[in-house]
Symmetry: C2
Subunit: 209 residues, 2 copies
């Protein structure tokens, strides 16, 4: 329960992922609250997507959409919709990603999952199921996004503290995209993150049958 990894059995022999990659993605990465001025490149933003797109979603529906807010004007439109403690965090980030789900993601299902003909129509006939599936899979992709950000050497600051209606009205006025998570991107400032919080132990989380 302590978050102290030093006392754990050494599991390094089990990992196929290198120690460097474990550190980069999981064990030494920190949610970041303050960023340097170092810019984020177009290639980095593209590389994030080119990696995350391969991680799996149910029936490959891939409903995540991404708005990268990086212009001063874009920032000024975004900040009013964040909770007060989060405003300076996003203000300091060179890029803020608004992760959204496409409510009409089924448009692409015939191309994305041709192995099941008629799947688009089956989803569209059951709007509640379609929405649930879109929300679930966009959320999986939001998690892949955070790890993909770390894969290009950037720090990520995911935040749920925002007004989704406000963001959606400001940036997605047709109503097709709906925001699910805001993620600040950039290089962490020296005092950009807190010491890690504890985690639950394996025995608290896992059961066997």
């Amino acid at each position: 329960m302590s978050g102290d990894t030093a006392s754990l059995p050494d599991l390094q022999h089990v990992y196929a992922l290198s120690p460097e990659a474990q550190k980069l993605l999981f064990t030494e990465a920190h949610t970041t609250y303050k960023f340097t001025d170092e810019p984020v490149s177009d290639d980095q933003l593209r590389a994030i997507y080119e990696l995350l797109k391969w991680a799996p979603t149910g029936s490959n529906v891939s409903p995540l959409r991404i708005l990268f807010v990086r212009s001063p004007e874009g920032k000024q439109r975004l900040l009013p919709h964040l909770t007060p403690p989060n405003k300076p965090q996003s203000d300091s980030a060179p890029v803020v990603a608004v992760l959204a789900r496409d409510t009409e993601y089924t448009e692409h299902v015939p191309m994305l999952y041709p192995i099941v003909p008629g799947l688009r129509e089956a989803y569209d006939a059951r709007p509640e199921l379609r929405d649930d599936h879109g929300i679930f899979n966009a959320t999986l992709q939001a998690a892949y996004f955070v790890l993909a950000v770390r894969s290009v050497g950037l720090d990520a600051g995911p935040m749920k503290g925002f007004n989704p209606q406000g963001i959606d009205e400001e940036f997605f006025p047709t109503g097709r995209w709906k925001s699910i998570l805001v993620v600040n991107l950039g290089k962490a400032a020296e005092d950009g993150w807190r010491e890690r919080d504890a985690r639950l132990d394996f025995e608290q989380v896992v059961d066997f049958a």
Copy 2:
């Protein structure tokens, strides 16, 4: 839209993650439908959790719980609750993980997120918000779980085709854990996966502000 990566600009210079790790986690991993008999070790199951636990959740609430089904008796209790096409997939897997959310995850919030005193009480006073937050963050952790499985050199077969009420009544009779995703684990058989489906292009998914 073709899923053809060969024509993309070469972004390798952008990645901090090694090419080997990119392949292992993202670009050469496949959702697996059929597994060999090679057993999965206790250390592998522990190593999966010891990695995924560090990936971020909102206010560090960490609501994911994991039931590893690996005994013949456990398999027989599980299979009736899967959709027919999924039964042979789970039957062939040496371990099947039932990923669940803990509906009473706020019990651990004072330990997990001490920086905000009273947060547990604030969630518990708003059950709908508490549930939404639990579902969202357990879903993020389900995605981390899939990548952590690949990190220990195993193949993963995530499946939404199951009856959650049936699984919950069979395995979680107190109602505290609620299933969100089933993931088959093991080593892929030679014919264990299909060729990759296409993905959406960067330009179809991304916008700028």
